[in-house]
């Protein structure tokens, strides 16, 4: 099975302190560290496991600049056979549909049976590219997939997580696009040695023209969704930051919960 996984490079949000730039349109990025979007890791792991079971190959693709190569290499070190970078200045400022258009153009150059994306990206959390890509390709799509079983070379049996923790099982025809929920597997660790081993592997780069796209289909010009502001909400009424050391905080929290009837 030929599998394509779309991955994204995102800032680590766990312990990074996010500050907004002065123009208010983005976050300050100097002190940030980046890694693979967490959901994409699950998608790549799933793709590798499917390939190891039924054969075929796994390609990882990303739309970004040179720094994104690290992310691709990490996924190649995990076990993806090939990494491809879609890079062009003309792509800058693309909205979700623009990104889906770029990816669609790349998909059509290949012969993929299955496309996986992460359920969403941990930075903007839009969760839209997978669905749009499927629509542009006119392929079936399933979101929040947490289980994949290969029935035959035409059909997959997939599980989806439903609100409230319920589970739904579907059959879906190939080729299709699936967005992968975290927890579908346990992504393997990528050691520094693993990354070094793929350090010299070539990562092909495709630009706007290579993909047969025209300028007005992608980038800022084509974008119909534009970010006009970005801010951290002010602390409003009803929100309170508890001060003190851990124990004091825990005690205050317990008191508050008791007072509001949250715990008895």
């Amino acid at each position: 099975m030929e599998i394509l996984v779309c991955v994204k490079r995102v800032p680590d949000i766990g312990e990074n302190e996010i500050e907004i730039t002065s123009d208010g349109k983005d976050i300050k990025r100097e002190d940030l560290v980046y890694s693979v979007n967490e959901w994409d890791n699950y998608a790549v792991e799933e793709a590798i496991q499917i390939r190891d079971k039924v054969g075929g190959s796994v390609t990882v693709v990303s739309v970004g600049d040179d720094e994104w190569e690290d992310v691709l290499r990490r996924e190649m070190a995990m076990g993806a056979d090939k990494g491809v970078l879609l890079k062009d200045e003309k792509f800058d400022g693309s909205d979700g549909k623009g990104l889906a258009t770029i990816l669609k153009a790349f998909v059509e150059k290949g012969n993929y049976d299955l496309i996986l994306t992460g359920a969403q990206a941990s930075d903007d959390g839009a969760g839209q590219v997978g669905g749009m890509l499927a629509a542009l390709l006119d392929w079936p799509f399933a979101s929040l997939v947490n289980k994949i079983e290969v029935v035959d070379d035409k059909t997959l049996r997939i599980g989806r997580e439903i609100e409230g923790g319920n589970q739904e099982i579907n059959e879906i025809q190939l080729p299709c696009v699936l967005s992968i929920q975290s927890g579908i597997n346990e992504p393997r660790y990528v050691s520094l040695r693993g990354i070094r081993k793929v350090a010299s592997k070539e990562i092909p780069v495709y630009g706007c023209e290579d993909l047969g796209l025209s300028e007005d289909q992608v980038g800022e010009k084509a974008a119909k969704v534009k970010r006009i502001d970005y801010f951290i909400p002010e602390i409003g009424k009803g929100a309170e930051i508890l001060e003190g050391d851990l124990e004091e905080v825990a005690e205050k929290l317990a008191e508050l919960l008791k007072a509001k009837g949250g715990i008895k």
Binding site: S35, S191, L192, R193
Partner: protein, 677 residues
Amino acid sequence: MMKEVLSPAYTTFLGLPGSFWGVLIPLVGIACFLYIVARRLIPLAKAAPDPRFDRINLRIKNLFRYWLFQYKQPRYIVAGVIHIVIFAGFLVLSIRSISLVIEGFYPDFVFPGLGGFLGKVYSVLKTYFATFVFIACIVAVIRRVVFKPERYKVPPKYGKEHTFEAIFVLALIGSLMVFESLFEASSGTKEALPPLTLAWFFKLILPTSSISFLQSVHTTSYFIHDFIFFFFLCFLPFGKHFHVLTSIFNVFFMKLDRGVVKPVRYGISEEELDNLEYFGIKYFEDFTWKHMLDFYTCVDCGRCSDNCPANFVGRPLSPRFLTIKSREYMFDRFPVLGLIKPKEPVVGKIFEEDEIWSCTTCGACEEECPVCNEYINKIVDLRRGLVDEGNVPQTIQKALNALEKRGNPYGKMESKRLEWAKSLEGIEVKEVSKKFKPEVLYFVDSATSYDERLQEIAKATATILTKAGVNFGVLGKKEKDSGHEVRRFGEEFLFMTLRDMNTEAILESGASLIVTSDPHAYNCLKKDYSDIPPVEHITEFILRLINEGKIKLKPIEQDDLVFTYHDPCYLGRHNLLYDVPRMVLDSIPNLKRVEMKRCRDRSFCCGGGGLMLFYEAEEEKRMGQVRAEMAYEAGANVIITACPFCLVNIEDGIKTSGLEGKVRVMDITELILQQLS
């Protein structure tokens, strides 16, 4: 003239000449033995390299200490004494046994040097030793059958009890003693035998009148002895009694350095590491030959697991069975008869992942092993294999990724590494720079830098150094995690990256001495780094400050305080700093101190440091809790330790054990700061 009792070689046995049996039994025995040993050496020949021919003088010294003088045996006094008796008996009787075998075809043989007086002395000695060994065997059987010490038990998941083999071998040894003594007693000599010995007793009950009866006893006991002797020799390589033959080599080739981790592969330099197909242990052949010899030599005495904290709290790790399982696998894959089986991955076959991650590398097992088997390097090599395959628990992956990106396992920002110093009043903690090159560098390491509770150790250390007038600085945001656990968790390249960054920053600082309050950093900088200034643990540094009169300590005021010192593994067992911290404590006037039952080289690990904090182990109880309870049992109400991880683990343990208010734990720097006058 009275007929004499003849040497068995001159008589007939089972209708054939004695000399025939005297040649046949040793010949067949030795041939079988050589074949078996050759087969047993096959896996060692296929194993990974392990150069162990260095520092011969030290190796010989160890041979005397641990093999000949059985240094570790009396740590378990009853079993130890029994073993020493049997071991000494084997040594003494080995000469007798060799002579006896030769007499079977060369009756007039006298062992060189034992012809005259010396021979008479030896004869008395060996007669007594045969008796002692016989008694020791009986006592050992009684222990095994009646008293059944807890540590010999075999948990059901590891198979059946090993009692039968133990008793069978004791029976073989006992009967060797019996038949040797019978042979001696039936020799027909008029000379009196040493009183109260087995031979003396047999001579007493054997009728002296019938020479032919004596002769048949003499001949029969000889050949039974001869047969059992060679049977025993060939039986040894089939079980734990292989140690009778291998322990001398095992001790000679033992690991010589504490706290040191073996390279990924001996003979492969760091630059060549990229050429290796994989890291660590994937197949059994990836163990080094010495590690395989360890498996052969294990005596199944259970002392390692009896001291293993992971085993104690019910984690799925038992060093004893890690070895026994490996030995059984060796016997099965490399059988004495038949074909060698093809290689296969060992994780999942012999070892479980959780078993491999459960080890805190505390070293209690290695400290205890009477034949000097090692474990930490095996665990580290197994982990290297898991890391290489990407088989790492998610919680540890997160910490490793954070270490790679931010240089600390919490993923906190580098710029916050010196946050702890901000709240210090009147004390300035300066970062080293081109303009500030201090004499002493305080290496804080990640946990002490970022963990809110542990920052108290950093503050106390900085305050003590300042008050003593020490010109010191810290690396601040240039400091990365020492990488101690990164290496011991098998992520060698990440360790090398961290080490190189730290080494550069340390050398740039221009400091002539590094001080650290974290024993893991201490061990790492000392053993895993090279070409950096000397490293001291803060307790060594404080002791010197006290001795030089640079700091003065006021007496403990409350009379009801009883202190106990908990030895951190990486300060104690791995670096032998047992007395220094105790001397620091004892220099505080009016400090009452008791020892826990498990202290010094038998200290009980708190639960492990560094990345171990991120591992969610299956366990019944926390090690920290067990340790808190041990301190309470010892009658202490203040536990002093000298390691950030011990502090946090024992503090948590006090909470879960319900000992809050009864026992508390402090770092030694916190106590010293409190007592500064």
